[in-house]
C-alpha cells in the first residue's frame, strides 16, 4: 500500500507519560521521536500495523496559543475527544493483561452483538474501546 492514512494524532497532557502508557502498558512501539526546541514530534505504532502511526502530541506553542492549548487540555481531560477503537484477538485476555499493568478500565469485558468489548482511558483521558475481532 502506498496511499492512505499514515498518522492520526491524539492530544496528551504529558508526552513522557503517554509514551510510557502506549509503549510499556499497551505494547505499542515508538516510530518517531524527534525534537525541535520545545516541540516534540512523537508517534507510536501498533506492532501488527506498520503502515499506521498514532501521534502523541502536546497541545501548545508553536502550534496552539496558550489559551487554546488550555481549552484543548480541558476537553481531553473531560473525555470529550472522539472515540478510539483497538481491535484484539481475545478481549478478556487483553483485559486481564492490561488491568494487571495498571491500565484504567472504564468498562470490564462485556459480551454483546456477537463480540466482546471493554473500555479504558489513557492517562490524559482519551477513551478507547477494545473490541474482540469477530472470527
Amino acid at each position: 500500500m502506498t496511499q492512505g492514512v499514515q498518522v492520526v494524532g491524539l492530544y496528551v497532557r504529558d508526552q513522557d507519560e503517554a509514551l510510557a502508557f502506549y509503549v510499556d502498558k499497551l505494547g505499542f512501539r515508538v516510530h518517531t521521536d524527534v525534537r525541535n526546541g520545545d516541540y516534540r514530534w512523537l508517534t507510536v505504532q501498533h506492532p501488527e500495523q506498520p503502515s499506521f502511526q498514532l501521534g502523541l502530541f502536546l497541545p501548545g506553542p508553536p502550534v496552539l496559543d496558550a489559551a487554546t492549548a488550555q481549552s484543548v487540555r480541558a476537553i481531553v481531560a473531560k473525555g470529550a475527544m472522539p472515540p478510539l477503537v483497538l481491535l484484539v484477538d481475545d478481549c478478556r485476555a487483553a483485559f486481564a493483561r492490561l488491568h494487571e499493568r495498571g491500565v484504567e478500565f472504564t468498562q470490564e469485558p462485556v459480551e454483546r452483538f456477537g463480540s466482546v468489548d471493554a473500555g479504558f482511558r489513557d492517562p490524559s483521558g482519551n477513551g478507547w474501546k477494545m473490541i474482540e475481532a469477530r472470527r
Binding site: A74, A77, P83, T106, D117
Partner: protein, 157 residues
C-alpha cells in the same frame, strides 16, 4: 476554566457512574472518587459536564433501560430493577417523562429499527440515543402539564 487535572478526576467519577449506573451514587461517594469535597464536586461536575451529577446518572439509567428494552426480552419489572430503580411505578413515570414513551411502547418501536445500526459499536449507538436532559425532570413534567405552579425548590430526579 477548571484545572485539567481536576477535570480528569471528575471524569473518573463520571466513568464510574457509566460503569455502574444501577448503583447508588450519592455525592459523597462521587466526591471521594474525584478526591474533592462533596460541595466542590457537585459544583465542579456541573461546570465541567453541563448537568448536575444526579441528572447525569438519570440519563445513563434511562439509556441503559432503553438498551435493555431493545436488546433483551427482560420483563419491564426486571429492566427497572436492573437499572437501579427501586419501584416500577417510579421507573415507568420517569421513563415516560424523559423519553415521551412508556417502556413497552419504546421497546416495540426501537426493535423495528434496530437492524440498521449493526455496524456501529454498541456504546456509540447507546450514546447517540442518550436522552438530552437539559432540564430537571420535575421541570419537564411541569412544562408538559402546562402548569403554573411555582418551580420546585428541590429537584426530583
Amino acid at each position: 476554566m477548571e484545572d485539567p487535572d481536576l477535570l480528569r478526576r471528575l471524569l473518573r467519577a463520571k466513568d464510574r457512574m457509566d460503569a455502574a449506573s444501577h448503583e447508588r451514587w450519592p455525592v459523597e461517594r462521587l466526591a471521594q472518587v474525584s478526591g474533592v469535597s462533596p460541595a466542590h464536586f457537585a459544583r465542579s461536575f456541573k461546570q465541567a459536564f453541563g448537568v448536575p451529577p444526579h441528572r447525569y446518572l438519570l440519563t445513563r439509567r434511562i439509556e441503559r433501560a432503553t438498551a435493555l428494552l431493545r436488546d433483551t426480552d427482560l420483563p419491564i419489572t426486571e429492566v427497572a430493577f436492573e437499572t437501579g430503580w427501586e419501584s416500577l411505578g417510579t421507573f415507568g413515570r420517569t421513563f415516560r417523562d424523559v423519553t415521551g414513551e412508556n417502556p413497552s411502547e419504546l421497546r416495540e418501536r426501537v426493535r423495528a429499527a434496530a437492524d440498521e445500526l449493526g455496524r456501529v459499536p454498541a456504546c456509540h449507538v447507546a450514546a447517540a440515543h442518550r436522552p438530552d436532559l437539559t432540564i430537571a425532570v420535575s421541570e419537564k413534567r411541569r412544562l408538559q402539564a402546562g402548569g403554573t405552579n411555582a418551580p420546585p425548590t428541590k429537584e426530583v430526579p
